[in-house]
Amino acid sequence: MTKQVQQLDRVIIRFAGDSGDGMQLTGDRFTAGTAEFGNDLSTLPNFPAEIRAPAGTLPGVSSFQLHFADHDILTPGDAPNVLVAMNPAALKANLGDLPRGADIIANTDEFTKRNLQKVGYAASPLEDDSLTEWRVHPVPLTSLTVKALEGFDLSKKDAERSKNMFALGLLSWLYHRPTEATISFLENKFAKKPEIAKANIAAFQAGWNYGETTESFSVSYEVKPAPLAPGVYRNISGNQALAYGLIAASVRSGLPLFLGSYPITPASDILHELSRHKHFGIRTFQAEDEIAGVGAALGAAFGGALGVTTTSGPGVALKAETVGLAVMTELPLIVVDVQRSGPSTGMPTKTEQTDLLMAMYGRNGESPLPVVAPMSPSDCFDAAVEAARIAVKYRTPVMLLSDGYLANGSEPWRVPAAADLPDISTAFASAPAEGEEFLPYLRDPETLARPWAVPGTPGLEHRIGGIEKADRTGNISYDPGNHDRMVRIRQAKIDGIAEDIPPLEVDDPDGPDGGTRVLVLGWGSTYGPIAAAVRRIRKSGGKVAQAHLRHLSPLPANTGEVLTSYDKVLLPEINLGQLAMLLRARFLVDIISYNRVRGLPFKAEELADVIQDVIDSE
């Protein structure tokens, strides 16, 4: 049977199942095949905080969404074209996101009376008329998998576990994905259990063959490779890119990396990744708590290391006092906050931008510090290098604000050459000349940074601490005038960094005099959805400018100028308007906020509507 092949420019697939069904792995492998094929792509995993919520229930549903295209794309996509639903819970939890006409591939074996009851279906939606708006492909994935594995020495239960590979095989056929990498991946993953490896490969191939032979799928789809800039690419998640960025910062600064960390979702993967690269001289220290994690990192920084601590919002709250100590002692320190939904424990696996004000001001006293926020998963690499550059050059703690969406999302990344990365090396203080006094708080006139005098250097013995320092000498001082001066110097040092960061760039195809009235501003992970929304507006003839802040403290020197160049400034944030409040206070600009705090990234369509409303309003 010759099947029809249809060309598509882009596809959004969502794999959904029980958290034990291996949906994240399935998504990862489909992503790897897609990356290898050369499409541009963007992914969004979505999983419960519970490791194994009760099987078959709505809270236990785990999903992985992948958007791939023959052109460059900016987001994991608003709404799936295809939903793979491994059970009734996965169908029910995701149906609301499916546009009419989308394909549903449902594992009919799991649509049992009991499973249907668990999620409140009176009858199977596959058998009544409730799904007529969609194209449903009922496939008995479990039993087909078991049948395909009959020749293997496996229990029925073990054979059933390979059903995700059957699904992967079917989808790989449906979208013409290469299969070799998945087969060698399975061989490696189960190298110690060759029987399991063979079974998974057999299930994968059976899924492929099923697509080829069955009549339920009459069409397969091709999405041509995207014309990306020449270079070597790999797929990378935000957390992995951030870890690599820290390693790159260590290499390019010549400082040994010391990570003090305490496990916390969604930041733990950075600790895991860095722990695997000890041959770079990286010391990873899993501390007894968040406070000890940052304390150890600061202690190591005092000793001349690139000190880093990684955490999420609740951990930042605990670390605040130590970060204040780093402000006072003016030592380099990188504090990575992979933001998640709050307050308190909130929704640990869901994303948010709600820690900005805590990063800026969440310490006692006047304790300014630089804040840097990456805008995409791969940008976590460059943002980490930038955070380290500032920390080392200005001897200051730096907050690096990633979030759960960036951390777990992935995209293709053009791999840079190590030699092309910035040199961020710095010099430690050396012994003073004969007869000269060492002044631990004497500042570089340009950067206002104090000397980094590490133990082991003769002649530089000195004492630092959290008590206010006398200017120049660093001795304890309670002098009112000195305190006022030091408060202002610490602020001036951070403010001065504005001269050392790129200006805020505006993407405005019509130029400054082109009549564009609306600027959409963003920061952090909203870049993708905002840029995708801006494209939609322009495609339909609308005029809108876009700018994105990577440095939130200090702001680029031209920020005020940019904001006042447009009639209206729209600022979407996944919080209740934290950056908007800062910009209003500083520049007296009447920012229009758009805020949703649902634990999910914005959708491009949603933002396009908001932008259009602002354009249309008087």
Partner: protein, 353 residues
């Protein structure tokens, strides 16, 4: 290692990686130019003088010594030492020192802390430093009171302590710092007293040379808020009777009392005249099992009935920093030194153009 275990109470590796000074050093070099600001008569003066006069004997390069402290009266200590120093925040000195010592094995790192700093707000960091066994020396100045906040009871104050925050007496049972440290399986645990400089210095020397975390509890008198807390140990009439000197390989006894195995399996203190010399328990600081050292730490219940002074426990086990360095070396041996380009290009890659 077995030699070390049967040696004179030192594993001796504590300073092995710290550079030595060729020049002869004096106490004067270790005094900073800062004015000492403790209350007149504070026990901290005696401890400072004892430390300043003892460290030159270690023969280390002064720039390779670091004193790290938390918050409290005792935590001002680093300002007065002409070494590197870090006066940090309340309770966190062991954490900060852990990062420093784990990343810089060439430093001799000292933590100066008090009973409130280390056992209340910083209790978690203390026990984890002890179990982890990073190469640090923790000097716990125990005056059984909060001094810098002006006289509230502390986690080592006796039950019923009347203070500003407990006008009807404190309700909570105090920690015994030695019991706590041994419970955390610290590799070196000792107690000494501010007024006995010779003993203080001998214990500090052992602590310095011990590889791993050493905890030294120093009974320290706060003459403003808790004066006389340790008078029994200083009173010539009774001190020799209640002080049990712990010396490795020596019988544990005071002038009038001795420690022996009790019939119920524990240990007990009995009049010395009632026990034959060979029945007196001989102190073994190097016993791997901490239970006997723990039993010794309980002999001062009720308070000051009998007070063991000296090294309760000194055992050799690998220190965290040694193990961490070894893992780094092993990783390099297995994989070669890290190459950033190789790392960035690891995994599945593809070329475009």
């Amino acid at each position: 290692m077995s030699e070390l275990l049967s040696g004179p109470g030192l594993n001796g590796r504590g300073l092995a990686l710290v550079p030595k000074s060729d020049a002869k050093q004096s106490m004067k070099e270790y005094k900073s130019d800062q004015e000492v600001r403790w209350c007149p008569g504070c026990g901290d003066y005696a401890i400072l003088a004892a430390v300043q006069s003892f460290v030159p004997e270690l023969g280390l390069k002064r720039e390779n010594m670091v004193f790290v402290s938390g918050i409290g009266c005792s935590s001002r200590f680093p300002y007065y030492m002409n070494t590197y120093g870090f006066h940090s925040i309340h309770g966190r000195a062991p954490a900060i020192a852990t990062g420093l010592a784990a990343s810089r094995p060439d430093l001799s790192v000292w933590v100066i802390t008090g009973d409130g700093d280390s056992l209340s707000i910083g209790g978690n960091h203390l026990i984890h430093a002890l179990r982890r066994n990073v190469n640090l020396n923790i000097l716990l100045f125990n005056n059984r009171i909060y001094g810098l906040t002006k006289g509230q009871y502390s986690p080592t104050s006796e039950i019923g302590k009347v203070t500003k925050s407990t006008p009807m007496g404190s309700l909570d049972k105090p920690f015994n710092p030695i019991s706590l440290a041994i419970g955390a399986e610290a590799s070196f645990v000792a107690r000494t007293i501010d007024s006995d400089r010779k003993h203080l210095q001998s214990v500090l020397r052992e602590a310095a040379e011990h590889k791993g975390t050493s905890l030294v509890e120093i009974y320290q008198n706060c003459n403003i808020f808790n004066d006389g807390a340790f008078d029994q140990l200083k009173d010539p009439e009774q001190r020799d009777d209640i002080t049990l000197r712990l010396e490795h390989g020596q019988p544990i006894a005071s002038a009038s009392k001795a420690v022996r195995r009790a019939a119920d399996g524990g240990i007990e203190v009995v009049p010395r005249a009632e026990v034959a010399e060979n029945e007196i328990l001989v102190h073994d600081a190097h016993r791997a099992d901490p239970s006997l050292a723990f039993a010794l730490s309980r002999l001062d219940e009720p308070a000051f009935a009998h007070v063991p002074i000296g090294v309760f426990r000194s055992v050799d086990r690998p220190s965290y920093d040694e193990l961490m360095s070894a893992q780094l070396e092993e990783a390099v041996a297995q994989r070669g030194p890290g190459s950033l380009d190789d790392l960035l290009l690891s995994g599945d890659t593809w070329r475009i153009g």
